[in-house]
Symmetry: C2
Subunit: 133 residues, 2 copies
DNA sequence: TAGTTCATGAGAACTATTCTCATTACGGAG
DNA sequence: CTCCGTAATGAGAATAGTTCTCATGAACTA
């Protein structure tokens, strides 16, 4: 029985407005910049709740930090994230799903979940950093 | 110019003796139990060095903790890890590699790296937990 | 409107990992 | 075989992200 609070709403609204993945800390900063007063711990709690409800999507970046985003596709899916600017492409990876399931079954594993995330430099960031070098 | 020290050797030997993935903390504990006196920081440093040398393999578990293991396959590969007992199967995922590369290219991404890990319950642990319920 | 209970805020607490820096000890040169 | 320069170590402090505690505040419900 989740309760509708000002903070909960603020976080949800924020997520509706920003594309791509952001860390809890980032989101907290954004809320603060918007003038919303929400404690960091509350942001974490809310993100957890939303994730449990399946309304938010989370991935762990290469540095181990969790990043969240309003989930757009309904089904299970994966991401291609720009390491530099955070731009995200949602992938429908039926091929990978099938592969993962098959492999797991072949090895006698059950109750399988998988992590598949791609990180790279998007076209824009890629050309920019090429200049820098 | 890496230097061969008692600690380095101890960690390498330990890794040779244990299959499956273990956290740095676990490895440190094991060393301690073996009577080897190696500082935790040194374990971390050594694992980093070995990882850079490609002699050790690391994956980030669902909890975000890094787990290490002596790398068996030479090339880049992925894992199927039992959530319960840690048993690991090394996967040669040429199919996934190709898929990842293709997807990334299709979206204009470069310098792509990917994370693909499967977690589940191995045959043994699966049947055991079925009893428990 | 009153009361119950879930949610919040603030900061402490935790966990994993990295860093600092004084001290130790490889390993090549002589 | 010893001497030395320098990389490696130990111990604990420092970081970063995240979770927990607990007193206080605000949503629903009757």
């Amino acid at each position: 029985m989740p309760r509708t609070t000002r903070q909960r709403t603020a976080v949800a609204d924020l997520l509706d407005g920003v594309p791509d993945f952001h860390s809890a800390q980032d989101l907290h900063r954004m809320l603060h910049d918007r003038g919303e007063r929400v404690a960091l711990a509350t942001v974490y709690r809310t993100l957890q709740v939303l994730t449990d409800l399946g309304e938010v999507d989370s991935v762990r970046g290469p540095d181990g930090e969790l990043r969240y985003r309003r989930c757009e596709a309904e089904a299970h899916h994966h991401h291609l994230v720009c390491r530099s600017c955070g731009t995200t492409v949602e992938l429908d990876a039926a091929a990978v799903e099938a592969w993962a399931g098959g492999i797991a079954r072949a090895h006698g594993f059950t109750d399988v979940e998988h992590t598949v995330e791609l990180f790279g430099l998007c076209a824009r960031c890629g050309s920019r950093s090429a200049d820098a070098r």
